[in-house]
Subunit: 389 residues, 2 copies
């Protein structure tokens, strides 16, 4: 076998997985726990897989300090599937409490591409419900500032009447625009707060008690694509026959009642998530990850802020510690920058196709020395371009 | 590393994966195609993953002889998600053609647990549509025969008026009850035929041209759990705004328009499916698989039919070549049988928890010698129990 080239993977997702996790999966690929089988070959109803599922849940519970009145669900279809599931299930929970005939409002904080897509899905589903469900954008950075990258202060948000509000939704870290909330938004204690944490899941401690639902796809900080984790407060699990009609597989209560095994779950992806959680424990847990992630991000933003060549399109008060986006003065220069990093085996640094520019995703698995190498290149590139200009 | 014990995996799914496929995945785990990355770490928008996706599609196309007027989609959520997706999308296709106000009927052939669940999901969704959509069970083995395991002759089926019928749905192989269709049901050429082939996918040639939709989860014959394949005739792709309201991620046209990458697809599972398809090519393709599968199944059914101890609950005209279910005279004897196989490293032979008994799943990846070992044990067990009784 040829030697594996050392690659610095700055991809936004699917993203870098800790090498030790991949090595473990590799060594167990044909014989998991002396079963003579791959994890992929185990029945999801077998004791061996049952232990994997339970272990993954209990590691997540412990790492995130998830209270007993929350369920942990493993689902499929990524965050986009959750856009619909959250709408269906939390409207149902509200209607279970207040009755079907009452007006129900769902509040969306729109801070980037993903929360915008979530709001759009709710708007489409609500419009078709021919009902009394209204979608309210409590703030929309594009409307307020003409662009994503800024975040209106919370006291300017137009939150709806708490009595009518099924939930307040926000995206804790906007992967495309590099916008991250620095604190949990304040909402009425009677209104469930919903967070999409797909791209900063487990990157720092989060007070789960403040949320009705926390969810995220695994493919950034947690493992391979193909599994989403939903953490939901148990009182929000509504009966399937209440509220908007929804596919069985998008029903939170059905998933909870069947321990995420109403049908075959994505067993191998869940196993991989378990290995990543074990790795996180070995790294000292979330407080330790937060320190490392803040240090990595600060280094990069410092270079950008002290540079005449690089520019951050994101306001200082909402910069992502996971996805550091930056621009150069022209697209031609950005292309040159990207060609240069590729030669140094730094890959997947291109900004999202909808916005362009550069994006360095520096998730939990990204070691500080890889960030240092990127910074070294940025400095060299800048020197070369300031001396010749 | 300890030696891998040789295990004979008769699991119904997730099921045995060819050893050479697992070895290949193992060897490429940390360095796919000299990228320095695992397949799990590749962006779904990268050229490297694009080649995996395209290669998987073209291998499937070639193996199944899929005509150009069909789309191949990779989706998530297993067959149960497709129960809803098929209903939503094919009712939409019918309404796109006939108008929203016309009565639409969906026909279900109910031959076992899975087609029954599919019909139930359609019934639930249709009831809630407050519309003119009706669900018709054209036959239901449980009603006709009091049990699954028999199949009413096609000329007794109560198919609906073709002008009003959005589709006729059946499950080509019922994994729980071991019931498999021996030929494709005949329907009006104007009515799309839909087949769930989750548990006999690629086990034999299938004339795709006779179908509107063919779909299946991967975790029996095709790879790991977490990806479903949908093959759909292009004229059945209806606009998202027509027909029943459906989540974006369950919309076939959205998936087709985005080459299954509206959001991040389950990249590693797709890669594994590609490896299994390559293995199938090496085995001589579907005609060759059919011969081997028929030979394996015949051997097992012969033992059952010639035995005084074993009994098949499935009629000869609809016995599955994938899931051979059989009973012994008592549950105690079945437990003894299962304890004996376990000692010989034959695993996952227990019947589905809803029906009990024994189930030997003998998918493509199951070598004939493993079936021979099971047969040898069955013969020994029978001798022991006839001499002592």
């Amino acid at each position: 076998m040829s030697t594996t080239p050392y690659v610095l993977n700055f991809g936004a997702g699917p993203a870098k997985i800790p090498t030790s996790v991949l090595e473990r999966a590799q060594s167990e690929m044909l014989n998991y726990d002396n079963s003579g089988m791959s994890v992929m070959e185990l029945s999801h109803r077998s004791k061996t897989f049952g232990k994997i599922l339970d272990g993954t849940k209990s590691k997540l519970k412990s790492l995130m300090d998830i209270p007993d009145n929350y369920e942990i669900l493993f689902m499929q279809g990524g965050a986009t599937t959750q856009f619909a599931a959250v709408f269906y299930n939390l409207v149902a929970a509200k209607q279970a409490k207040e009755g079907n005939e009452q007006e129900v409002i769902v509040d969306y904080v729109v801070s980037g591409a993903w929360s915008n897509k979530a709001a759009q899905e709710a708007e489409r589903l609500a419009a078709n419900e021919r009902s009394t469900i209204k979608v309210n954008r409590v703030t929309d950075s594009k409307k307020v500032y003409g662009k994503y990258g800024s975040l209106a202060p919370e006291d300017s948000w137009q939150l709806s009447d708490p009595k009518k509000t099924a939930y307040v939704y926000y995206c804790d870290n906007e992967t495309v625009h590099g916008v991250e909330f620095q604190q949990i938004p304040k909402v009425d204690p009677g209104v469930p707060l919903v967070a999409d944490v797909s791209s900063n899941f487990l990157s720092r401690p989060l007070d789960v008690r403040k949320f009705g639902v926390i969810y995220g796809g695994a493919q950034k900080n947690l493992g391979p694509a193909g599994v989403s984790i939903v953490i939901i407060r148990k009182d929000l699990l509504a009966d399937l026959n209440i509220g908007p009609v929804r596919p069985l597989m998008l029903d939170f209560k059905t998933m909870a009642d069947n321990d995420s095994m109403y049908n075959t779950p994505p067993t191998f992806s869940i196993y991989m998530v378990g290995l990543v959680l074990e790795w996180l424990e070995d790294q000292g847990g979330l407080a330790s990850m937060e320190k490392r992630n803040m240090a990595k991000a600060k280094k990069l933003y410092d270079v950008i802020d002290q540079s005449a060549l690089y520019r951050s399109p994101v306001d200082v008060n909402c910069r992502s510690r996971m996805n550091v986006v930056f621009r150069l003065s022209s697209e031609a220069l950005e292309a040159e920058f990207l060609a240069g990093v590729a030669e140094l085996n730094m890959v997947q640094l291109k900004g999202h196709r909808s916005v362009g520019g550069i994006r360095a995703s520096i998730y939990n698995s990204m070691p500080e020395q890889d960030v240092d190498q990127l910074i070294a290149y940025m400095n060299t590139f800048e020197k070369a371009h300031t001396s010749t200009n």
